[in-house]
Symmetry: C2
């Protein structure tokens, strides 16, 4: 009989939810008043507010986001963009912790989190247009590469954007990062304090800011302790296990007498461990080892790895806050926040 018998593809269940109008009718007030109550406007009498709130409760009214967005031009949602190539890194606490921080930071403001995995280059290229098309109020980006221009494009389109980490020392956009330099410094100081003097380091790719910063921290610590920096003790990896292993091999070849290594990431450290073991070096007796990230592998490496921990969740929360701030008051000036790291001492050093 009714059209209800016809299939209704692509239609949500037509259990029509109460509208603002319905609430107004029930409360015996105008739509404007209901809207004011919902949006916490002060220009409502206590009485009206009570009546409206009552009606809302009775009807189980929830505002329609689309209708609101349409007029306010806000979406109350932000996108978290992660290049898919890096998704594997998800497996590191890095992503999950940051995400939970972001989520916590956004929840308070009633913002939704849109997860966008940029699969291939094509998709990535379209992203700027896509994200600027009034779909989100702002964008958070993780794992930005030095040569990544998406942030700049978003900036041109005046889409509030906050990055996890910076692309270079002169990052123009707002971002949050850990004190990589300080963390590295503390790590190396820890090795120095244990009496180690021939300390090598395995760096990340030098076109990444984190890698440069951690290397700088290594240098600073040595310099500060009056130990000359031996360039032969610096080998570069690429943040992969195999890269770490190769770098370690190189270090052992160049300076067989080294007694400690600071690896700029736990994953590289785990590669180094394999090589050290193969070379018959015992840890920490012969060679002490410190990593960076305090990732999940740190605890499972044998011996458990001393590592530098970043306040990931706090970084996420801070990113959310910076973004919310930027959304609320545009162009309040870009801000960068650097959060402190912490050395987690285990058995490897």
């Amino acid at each position: 009989m009714s059209s209800a018998e016809l299939p209704q593809p692509h239609r949500t269940a037509d259990v029509r939810r109460p509208t603002l109008n319905a609430v107004a009718a029930r409360a015996g007030v105008g739509r404007g008043t209901v809207s004011r109550v919902i949006n916490g406007s002060p220009k409502v009498s206590a009485q009206s507010r009570a009546v409206v709130e009552q009606a809302i409760a009775e009807l189980g009214y929830v505002p329609n986001r689309a209708a609101r967005s349409l007029v306010t031009r806000r979406t109350d949602s932000v996108a978290l963009v992660v290049p898919d190539a890096e998704t594997r890194l998800f497996s590191e606490p890095y992503f999950s912790e940051i995400i939970r921080g972001v989520s916590a930071g956004l929840a308070g403001a009633g913002m939704q989190l849109l997860l966008v995995l940029a699969r291939d280059e094509t998709e990535y290229a379209r992203l700027a247009a896509y994200l600027s098309a009034q779909r989100v109020d702002g964008v958070l980006m993780m794992a930005v590469h030095s040569d990544d221009t998406l942030p700049d494009r978003l900036d041109e389109l005046s889409v509030p954007t906050v990055l996890a980490g910076r692309r270079s020392e002169t990052e123009p956009l707002g971002h949050v990062r850990a004190d990589n330099r300080g963390g590295a410094r503390v790590a190396v100081e820890h090795l120095l304090a244990a009496g180690r003097r021939v300390i090598g380091t395995i760096t990340g790719p030098m076109d990444m800011d984190v890698a440069r910063e951690r290397l700088d921290g290594y240098r600073e610590a040595l310099k500060h302790a009056g130990v000359a920096v031996d360039e032969e003790l610096i080998a570069s990896g690429d943040f992969t296990e195999e890269g770490g292993r190769a770098a370690m091999r190189e270090l052992l070849r160049r300076r067989p007498g080294l007694d400690a290594v600071f690896a700029a990431s736990d994953v590289m450290a785990s590669g180094a461990v394999l090589e050290l073991r193969a070379a018959g070096r015992r840890m920490p007796r012969d060679v002490a080892l410190v990593g960076f990230d305090d990732s999940i592998v740190a605890r499972h490496i044998d011996p458990p790895l001393t590592s530098v921990r970043q306040p990931l969740e706090e970084m996420g929360r801070t990113m959310a806050n910076l973004l919310l701030d930027e959304i609320a008051h545009r162009g309040t000036g870009r801000r960068e926040v650097v959060l402190p790291t912490e050395l987690v001492v285990r058995e490897s050093a």
Copy 2:
């Protein structure tokens, strides 16, 4: 002069994007025609279509999602709900792989992924109302507990829902899961094939379907091989490292002569390794060990752990597809999909 000088908090940049109207005007056709072109309706002449597409390209037009949602009552987005308590599991490939699969599956359909971390109980309780309030077209849920009623509530509110894993053998909702029983069986068969006969198992919490299924697989394999199941060789853990360790200790106490162990998760296996090592057992010589999940720790345990891998990404993609299907044709009947597992042989067994 203009109002542009006034601060405009909470307003997106007023660079007004072209509307469908603008496109129509430029193309010299009516709004209806433009709408038809955008939605791929066949009832448009080739000529009109060409003109409209041209105009769209020239203006860089992108449809306004909110406006569309308002009338269609669709949002073209689905929520992925993850109880925050489980977020730590993010660090396992489990979540990241599933997410990437989900994302891939949704991307093809032009759907957005809303990540919802349900923090505390209160929030979790509100979620049903929230999610049913025309905010998403469907819901994907991970890490559902046996006593979780959110899925049922969503179902009542006729919100299409698909789960990762089932709550019990009689799960009424659509879901995707790995062949836990078969995987466990293959794992144990692998141990049997290596000549092991006194095979213990460390199970997960028995109120979880995965745990029960994996234990069943263990039993099946033994039975099939004509080996009597010794209940003393079954110890229960809780999917944590410490739980695995305790269970292993118990097994060694009960049956010091065991020559193999099947742990229902890699994390528990890593705990077992610690205990075995403490007890002076060498692996795999004295005791062979197989885990489940092929998580990141599996490769880093010493010796590298033989483990059962689940096709996580495919599970994610399948979840997305089931959900899309359910959204498009409601009530086409609940479906459950079971995907095969694979034994990854390393050095521990």
